[in-house]
Symmetry: C2
Subunit: 200 residues, 2 copies
């Protein structure tokens, strides 16, 4: 089988949420799998001297309506959560912990976290909330709480964030298809074409 | 006939160039016309505290390959010009001058300017270069030079730039379809869907 697609996401990115709903099915149509990698947008923003999009003059008001419109365009339910964005450190740690044991279960956890934030409007920042949501795909809440506080998991996330920066991942969703980088849910059509034709 | 689509562009924006190649045909399929409005990205960047994309760490290297890829995706020829970006004050003034007399001719001039920069790699910043290119759609070079130095044209461009900022136009291409704002060549598909369905 050809190399898997790498899907970098932050749990507080609306476009990563939108892409998360379709990327595995898109890849499967071309006989590909998808590796999901959590990251923290804040680290890239710091490297770029950027601020969260909602706070940028002119751009902020546009995107606060664009998120929902793009979700409709992609046929995905969307609720604009507040606060926005939120820290997703605990969510990313829980994902990494589960991913090391069972990548498929980790994707289900990611789906549950995205839904909690972008469909139900639940603030997924607190560790207790992440642990409660992790119960949906069958995790033990106490075990998740312990994992999120585990030094090895903390360091694994730090390594993940650093590696993403080195690879040039500056936003979310960010994809690599056979080494070719794509940024944004609005590049899913280009990814689809590339997978179909092996380039364009 | 329904209201025309407003198309805001800067002559040094690769995505505005890509969109310029298809927006009139897209609109015509839905019985719409397009009003082209030149602007200067620098003014919006200043309001946002932003820097030209090519100079942003991480983002810059990505976009220097993304421009050409998106052009291929849209079936448009593309040459990465240097210097990039360039000042497009003279080009925008020439456009505004011609647009007030003959909007169709002004679109032909805009096409010639975009082609000169993004197909031939000609630096379209100098007024003499703009005047020479304006001869392609039949303008008199001396008349264009005089127009670009005309105080009324200078003030018209300033008013255009200010009005775009007030309307929330922060990038290029930027479109308004019945008041709904769309940013980017990657929103042409959403514009198409909206025109087909009157919303989505």
């Amino acid at each position: 089988m050809a190399d898997p697609i790498r899907f970098h996401f932050d749990f507080s990115s609306p476009y990563a949420y939108i892409a998360s709903r379709g990327i595995d099915a898109l890849a499967a149509r071309h006989g590909r799998e998808v590796v999901w990698r959590p990251r923290l947008l804040g680290a890239a923003f710091k490297a770029m001297g950027a601020t969260p999009i909602a706070d940028v003059p002119l751009k902020g008001p546009y995107f606060m309506r664009e998120f929902a419109r793009s979700a409709r365009f992609h046929g995905v339910p969307y609720f604009q959560p507040t606060p926005f964005p939120v820290s997703t450190v605990s969510a990313a740690r829980a994902f990494l912990w589960l991913d090391a044991r069972d990548p498929a279960a980790a994707k289900r956890l990611a789906g549950a976290l995205f839904d909690a934030y972008f469909v139900e409007g639940v603030n997924i920042s607190p560790a207790e909330v992440v642990a409660a949501i992790a119960a949906r795909p069958g995790c033990d809440a106490a075990e998740v709480i312990a994992a999120m506080g585990d030094r090895a998991i903390k360091e694994a996330l730090k390594a993940e964030v650093d590696a993403a920066l080195v690879a040039g991942v500056f936003g979310a969703p960010f994809f690599f298809v056979d080494g070719e980088p794509f940024w944004g849910a609005d590049r899913l059509d280009q990814i689809d074409l590339r997978l179909a034709q092996g380039g364009f």
